[in-house]
Symmetry: C2
Subunit: 193 residues, 2 copies
C-alpha cells in the first residue's frame, strides 16, 4: 500500500518523465534533481542510467521525434478524399497541440543544438506531407509546395497564438468552424476539382 513505489526505474522511465517536463516547462525544466524528486528517486538512480543531462535530453527528443512522425500518419489516413483529409488533419493537429504543448515548448528552444536538428527533420517531414496533400488535390508541384508551406505556417502561427494570445482567436465553436472554413477556402482557392 501507499503511494511510494519501490519499483526500480528504467532509462525509458526517465526519458518519458523528461519529455513530460519539456511539455510543461520547456527544455529548461529538464533538470535531473527535480525530475528525480518527481519520480520518487534521487540523482543516484539517474546517473546510473545516463551519462549526463545531455543524454537525457537526447533520449527525450528521440522519443518525441518518433511519436510525432507516427502521429501524422495515423491522423487521417482512412479518408479517401484529399480535401477532407486536409480539413481533418488541420482540426486534429490543432486540437492535439492545445492538449500537448511539447511542440510549442520545443519551438521555444529551436536554437538549442540538440533540439535544432530534431525540429528541422520533423518540420520538413510535416511540410512535405502537407505539400503532397496539395499536390494530390491537383495543384502543380511548385504551387502545392507553396500552399503547403503556407498552410504549415498558418498552423504554426495558430498554435503559437493559442498559446500566447488566445483572446484573438475565435472562442465559440461556431466561430472556430467559420475560421477554419475561411482558412481552408483561402488555402484551396483555385483548386482543380
Amino acid at each position: 500500500m501507499g503511494v511510494t513505489q519501490t519499483r526500480r526505474l528504467s532509462a525509458d522511465d526517465w526519458a518519458q518523465a523528461a519529455l513530460a517536463s519539456i511539455a510543461d516547462g520547456g527544455l529548461a525544466a529538464v533538470a535531473v534533481e527535480p525530475i528525480a524528486a518527481r519520480l520518487g528517486a534521487t540523482k543516484g538512480s539517474f546517473y546510473w542510467h545516463f551519462a549526463n543531462r545531455e543524454a537525457l535530453v537526447d533520449a527525450a527528443l528521440r522519443r518525441w521525434e518518433a511519436a510525432s512522425t507516427d502521429e501524422v500518419i495515423e491522423a487521417a489516413q482512412t479518408e479517401p478524399d484529399p480535401t477532407t483529409r486536409l480539413r481533418r488533419l488541420f482540426t486534429h493537429v490543432v486540437e492535439a497541440a492545445s492538449r500537448d504543448r511539447t511542440e510549442v515548448a520545443l519551438l521555444a528552444t529551436a536554437d538549442h543544438p540538440q533540439v535544432a536538428p530534431v525540429l528541422q527533420r520533423v518540420t520538413e517531414r510535416r511540410v512535405g506531407y502537407v505539400s503532397a496533400l496539395f499536390a494530390e488535390i491537383g495543384f502543380p508541384p511548385e504551387v502545392a509546395r507553396r500552399r503547403g508551406v503556407l498552410a504549415f505556417s498558418a498552423y504554426l502561427g495558430h498554435i503559437q497564438l493559442a498559446h500566447a494570445a488566445p483572446a484573438v482567436l475565435p472562442s465559440s465553436a461556431a466561430d472556430r468552424r467559420a475560421h477554419l472554413d475561411e482558412a481552408l477556402q483561402a488555402l484551396l482557392h483555385g483548386a482543380p476539382h
Copy 2:
C-alpha cells in the same frame, strides 16, 4: 582613448542592454552579472538603478512594447492603396523579424508572467491593425477579422519557420517573391475591387 568608457550608466542603458540580451539569448539571458560585464560595469551599478532583476525585465519589456507599436505605424502609412500597403507591411515585417529576433525570443517565453501581458497587448494591436486593413480593402467585418487573424498566423508561423527550419522556406529571391504572391493571393481571394 581606449575602449573602456568611464561614463556612468543610466537605467535606460541597462534596459537597452537587457533588451539586446533578450534578442540574442531569450529572457534567460537577462542576467545581471553577464550584462554588467557586457556594459563594463558590475552589479553594484545595477542595484543602484534597479531594485532587482524583475524590474530590469520590466523595463526592457516596456521598451519593446513601445518600440513595437511605433514600428507598425511607421511601416507603410504613406501608401494609399490598402492592398499594396498589406504587401509592403508583410515584406517589411518579415524582414524586420529576421534582423531583430526579439519577437521570436519573447514568443519563446510567452508563459512568463511578465512577458504574457505585453505579448497579448502587442498581438492584439497587430491583429487589429491587419484586420482593419482587410476591412479597408472591402471585406465585411467578420471576414476581415478572420483574414486578419489568418494573415497574422501565417506571419507568426513564417518567422518561426525562418528561425527553426529555414531550409523549408524558399531560398532564392524569386522564389520568395512567388511565395509572397501566393500567400497574398490566397489571403485576398474574393476581394472586392
